[in-house]
């Protein structure tokens, strides 16, 4: 390393590369940072000194104020929204994984008439966005009596996530050695048992599928707005949108609700960022 530094060109390259990355990191984070620090200030300080940090202890306490958070907790049911988002995301993810692995297993394992055609049929949805069918989807959901229910969102997100899930899982299932399955069959294991046995072997693919689906489901605004806009079924994203629209002139409340909706996602992201990035990079290679 040190020897390399003696080459003048190397030092310039080193500084340029790190400088670019550092500047871009600032661009990516600064807006979010600014919102978070200002959500804990009084209104005057938000406008007079937006770049300082306020904390609940001296010497930073001069501008400390949590009135925004008080408004949010009084006027919006963020706890309900949060529970709704959590239920929808977790159940939809589970369904995508269970149903997706089953279908992928069948497509990868058995040679039956129409296998390829069925695989192509299921892959159609990777490229064509489900949103384009919204007019009919809304009618269907109304006819099924599922309007303003979390079930509607769960079913739609499951349908939306299945194509890519099956596509990715299938590739991984094909790589599981045949001998393993045939040995189990000789031992008299049922096909269902073999499926169950395969699951732990495709864990990386399951991680990738979870990562690809989690964020879009949690952040979606379109379907909650159209299929479940009721107060009891609002998700965090929709709840924040409506709250922000109503309180647009109350800077404290706006900053506080933005922080409240961003923090859980950012915390989760920091906790799972390694898996997420591994999933993204593993899924991307071909």
């Amino acid at each position: 390393m040190l020897k390399q530094f003696r080459r003048p060109g190397y030092l310039i390259q080193f500084l340029l590369a790190h400088g670019t990355l550092f500047i871009y990191t600032l661009i990516a984070l600064f807006p979010v940072f600014l919102v978070v620090i200002n959500s804990f200030k009084n209104r005057r300080a938000i406008f007079r000194s937006p770049y300082t940090i306020a904390l609940p202890f001296e010497p930073y306490a001069e501008n400390w104020d949590t009135v925004g958070y008080e408004t949010v907790f009084k006027r919006a049911h963020f706890d309900t929204y949060f529970t709704n988002s959590l239920i929808v995301t977790v159940v939809a993810l589970l369904l995508i994984l269970i149903i997706g692995t089953m279908a992928a297993f069948a497509l990868a394992e058995y040679r039956f008439k129409g296998n390829t055609a069925l695989g192509l049929y299921l892959a159609l949805g990777i490229m064509i966005p489900i949103r384009l069918g919204t007019v009919s989807l809304l009618r269907l959901i109304v006819n099924l009596g599922l309007i303003n229910t979390l079930t509607a969102l769960i079913l739609v997100y499951t349908a939306m996530g299945l194509p890519l899930a099956i596509f990715i899982l299938q590739q991984f299932m094909r790589q599981v050695p045949r001998d393993l399955k045939d040995a189990a069959r000789v031992d008299g294991a049922s096909e269902y048992r073999i499926y169950w046995m395969i699951l732990p072997l495709v864990r990386p693919a399951i991680g990738t599928v979870m990562v690809f689906n989690m964020i879009p489901i949690w952040n979606d605004l379109w379907f909650p707005l159209i299929l479940a806009p009721g107060e009891a079924t609002k998700t965090v994203t929709l709840g924040a949108q409506i709250f922000l629209g109503q309180f647009v002139t109350d800077w404290n409340a706006v900053l506080a609700s933005l922080t409240l909706s961003a923090i859980p996602v950012i915390v989760l992201y920091i906790l799972f960022s390694r898996q997420l990035i591994r999933g993204l990079t593993a899924g991307a290679v071909k």
Partner: protein, 309 residues
Amino acid sequence: MPMNKSRKSFPTHIVVFLAPAVIIYTLFMIYPLVDSLRLSLYAPAQAGGEAFVGFQNYEKLLTHELWAPRLQGALKNNFIFFLFHMFLQNPIGLLLATLLSSHIVRGKAIFRTLIFTPTILSFVLVGFIWRLILSPLWGISGDFLAIFGIENQPWLGLENTALPTLSLISVWQFIGIPMMLFLAALIAIPDELLEAARVDGATAWGLFWKIKFPLILPTVGIVSILTFVGNFNAFDLVYAAQSELGQPNYSTDLLGTFFYRTFFGVQLQPGNPTMGATIAGVMFIVILTGVLIYMFGWQRRLLKLEIEL
């Protein structure tokens, strides 16, 4: 062999494995898509219900004085929105990925994680965060632009700056996706290949254009088509930042907001499901064209290139 077994007796287990996926996918994805295309050929009838009108809705959308300007506006805006992503987001994403895969960079994991952060936030948060930052009332953007001697303006409020500003916000949010996909492709390039070129005296610049870029061409294609489909399907960010009207004066109206407005109605204008379905039909045609060009134009070319090499 399982094949013989399944031929002998009815393969119940195959049906059990496939049925849930096929049913849910068909019912909640394929059926609505097909039925929505069917609805685009219908219009509300005077006697109630809906009557078949052939391609009249499409004709109306293309020629009627109330519809055509909105469709053209949304198409044009959507195309500009796409160009910003294609020629700004993707090249910057590639640049960042190249830096992150470079052997001279330290702390790659930290940079990677931090730069990806905006991508995990919802459109609603991103839309409002930028509305605040760009608000002349708060003056944050003014402080920063002053460093470069640029005069601050209500960037999201003026007709000629709203769409570029909104596109840049979207680029800011999504740069993480092309960055990660390019990074994955760059990491997959064998080290020996790069080392051999380096020994032959290749510069970093030459190494990138002569070796790395040709090898990641498949990813360039994937990123391009993902960008295309995502952009022509966009709605949320405009809705959160500029409302479903694509304000100011429809200057940020995209196909997604036009579709939403037509379907649900806005202010005094009542919703019109069949015209909504027609706009979805147009979006379907646009997206399908992009996908087909990718599959038959781009991928086939790549295959030929690979064979020649």
